[in-house]
């Protein structure tokens, strides 16, 4: 099923791109960071996805869930090995002038994502969209074009595997 068919274009007016960008960015960058394992790669992937959204904003903006469309495109971007970056941005990051650094996550959080990355592709994506993207199970089902029960099942199975991997350390 194509993404355009997935959501009905029932909203007559197009919301400002800036508003959707600001609202969706935290979840998008979290998902991309989790899936690529690298924050800079994640930010690049989000940029690429949002550029595509911007180009098609006259259609994407009218969707019921433009954020879900962005997540779908982002997932494809994360699968790509190629990350196009602007030359200046890359150069500045090399010399550290634009580096943004945050406190490192706690050990259990690192272990959580490490275990998530060991999951098969679909459960890995489901768990990432749920916790990093803060997407509901229904939204995830739409984004991935799978039944809602599959999403529930993936999360339940991932819970067992991840808790076992953590050795009951919670």
């Amino acid at each position: 099923m194509g993404i355009e068919l997935m959501m009905t274009e029932s909203v007559p007016s197009t919301p400002p791109f800036d508003d959707v960008y600001r609202r969706e960015y935290p979840g998008l960058v979290a998902v991309a960071t989790a899936l690529t394992g690298d924050r800079r790669d994640g930010e690049d992937a989000v940029q690429d996805a949002m550029v595509k959204a911007f180009i098609r904003w006259d259609r994407v903006g009218r969707l019921d869930l433009p954020g879900a469309w962005c997540h779908r495109v982002l997932l494809n971007a994360c699968r790509s090995r190629w990350r196009r970056r602007r030359t200046e941005q890359r150069f500045r990051s090399r010399v550290g002038t634009e580096e943004r650094w945050v406190d490192g996550p706690s050990a259990d959080v690192i272990a959580f994502w490490q275990l998530v990355r060991l999951l098969p592709a679909r459960p890995r994506t489901v768990v990432t969209l749920h916790f990093a993207g803060e997407r509901t199970m229904a939204e995830i089902a739409e984004i991935l074009d799978v039944p809602l029960g599959t999403v529930r099942s993936d999360i339940a199975r991932a819970r067992i595997v991840i808790l076992a991997g953590l050795g009951g350390g919670l």
């Binding site: 960008y21 960015y25 960058v29 090399r94 002038t97 959080v109």
Partner: protein, 471 residues
């Protein structure tokens, strides 16, 4: 731990366990929050600018024509998202559209203007007739300006593939590059003929796609491991370095067991393997850490002098006995890798990238300092034992942004990647010897001298230029 793929379509759901579910949800919520970031302040306008440019290129491409963008002497031929560099004298394909820079004084974009400063040079469009050539007024790349007759730089060849990092193998026979596409490329240093390619692994990527027997065999080559290690210094892209038998590899935050395919996350980033393959150095904003390369166990936290903003970087000396750690907002320090004792603190200007000279006797850094109204780039050399600053040079043309500095084996020649090209200095006197304009008008990022000091390789987004040095 082995996890079997869930291939039943999710038909059955495991028994409900409220306690475990609650704990899992709480951990997942915190894990998700740890990765969330607010939108950058000018993010939307940056997206809009990129989107408008992409729309414009797409419109032209839809007509069947290629687009040539001339920017400061470089020509990027863009078609179907692929770029090709052309140089003066090249024959241009029929119906090629050439975008040439407007005079800087106009300050206008042909694309829709935005409220933020344009990050791309201004361009205008003309169409060249069939079979025409690139305008001769475009300066030829690689024209060397020599200011000291004691040195001769002769163009040897060009590798026309993108390279963010470049290094020679320990025996000088192989030239290794790594690009933004995270692919290592190996070239015969005498002929510049490409020998092999090797994908860099990404953190979290499925191993079977990235590591096969061939890749492991490549990794076991000591020369490749050494060269890959020396490509370090940037986390963009994360370099890969291997231990001597190729059973362990590090990349970014990841320590890979290439035999069983398992991966351990190391707190920090920019991981580099020690030359003997026994320890791994990572760095973060808070500290630099040493890890056991075989077990992934933390050995010690080095250099906990906190920087305020920037992550640290770190390198081993070629004999593995010393470690240098640095950050733009903290003093660079040299450590004994066996006793973990600090050997020296490097005083001087802000150092962005610090590396040992190949013989380990000195360290060289790309620096930045405020001179009058400007921030000016340069380079410094310190004694690696005492920490005494031996030499400090400032970029002759006041460049503020510089890439990596490199030296020949004993530090007698220093090359700095500057914004307008590569500057070559006498490592003893600091006198300027030569200047190589940036290849094709693009930034230069990394320099590498051959082990014998007779060749100099300069990398940038369009490829690598190699020069023979005679002094």
């Amino acid at each position: 731990m082995t996890i079997e793929p869930n291939d039943n379509g999710g038909a059955s759901i495991p028994p409900h366990d409220p306690g475990a579910e609650s704990a899992f949800d709480e951990l997942g919520r915190r894990a998700g929050q740890a990765l969330r970031r607010p939108a950058p302040e000018h993010g939307a306008s940056d997206i809009a600018r990129r989107g408008r440019l992409a729309q414009r290129v797409r419109t032209v491409a839809a007509t069947g024509a290629a687009v040539v963008i001339l920017v400061g002497g470089i020509a990027l031929l863009t078609r179907d998202d692929r770029s090709t560099t052309i140089t003066p004298g090249d024959t241009v394909a029929p119906d090629t559209t050439v975008l040439t820079p407007l005079p800087a004084t106009t300050g206008a974009l042909t694309e829709p203007t935005t409220t933020t400063a344009p990050s791309r040079p201004a361009v205008t469009s003309t169409t060249l007739p069939t079979g025409s050539t690139v305008p001769a007024s475009v300066p030829a790349p690689g024209t060397v300006t020599v200011t000291d007759p004691s040195i001769t730089l002769t163009p040897f060849g060009v590798i026309d593939e993108p390279a963010e990092g470049v290094a020679y193998s320990a025996d000088g026979a192989t030239l290794v590059t790594v690009g933004a596409d995270r692919v290592f490329r190996f070239y015969d240093a005498r002929t510049l003929v490409k020998l092999r390619e090797l994908d860099c692994p990404l953190i979290g990527a499925p191993l079977p796609d990235l590591w096969d027997d061939e890749a492991r065999q490549l990794a076991t080559a000591a020369t490749i491991g050494a060269a890959a290690t020396s490509l370090g210094g940037s986390t963009n892209p994360c370099p890969v370095s291997f231990n001597l038998d190729g059973t362990r590899a590090v990349n970014g935050q990841s320590l890979w067991n290439t035999v069983d395919g398992t991966m351990t996350v190391l707190a920090g980033g920019g991981a580099v393997m020690s030359p003997d393959g026994t320890t791994v150095l990572t760095s973060s904003r808070e500290d630099a850490r040493l890890w056991d390369a075989r077990t992934g166990a933390l050995l010690i936290e080095l250099d906990s002098s906190s920087g305020e903003i920037y992550p640290k970087g770190g390198h081993f000396s070629s004999d593995g006995r010393r470690i240098v750690t640095f950050a733009p907002d903290a003093r660079a320090m040299i450590w004994d890798s066996e006793t973990y004792v600090k050997v020296a603190t490097l005083e001087g200007p802000t150092a962005y990238e610090v590396r040992f000279t190949p013989d380990g006797s000195r360290v060289v850094a790309t620096t930045s300092e405020v001179v009058g109204p400007r921030t000016v780039g340069g380079a410094s050399i310190w004694d690696a034992t005492t920490g005494e600053e031996l030499l400090h040079v400032v970029s002759d043309d006041g460049n503020s942004f510089l890439g990596v500095a490199g030296t020949n084996n004993d530090g007698s020649l220093v090359a700095i990647c500057a914004r307008d090209g590569t500057l070559l200095y006498d490592g003893a006197t600091g006198s300027n010897l030569a200047m190589v304009p940036r290849a094709g008008g693009t930034d230069t990022w990394t320099v590498a001298f051959s082990p014998g000091g007779t060749s100099l390789a300069i990398s940038g987004p369009t490829g690598v230029e190699v020069f023979d040095i005679l002094r």
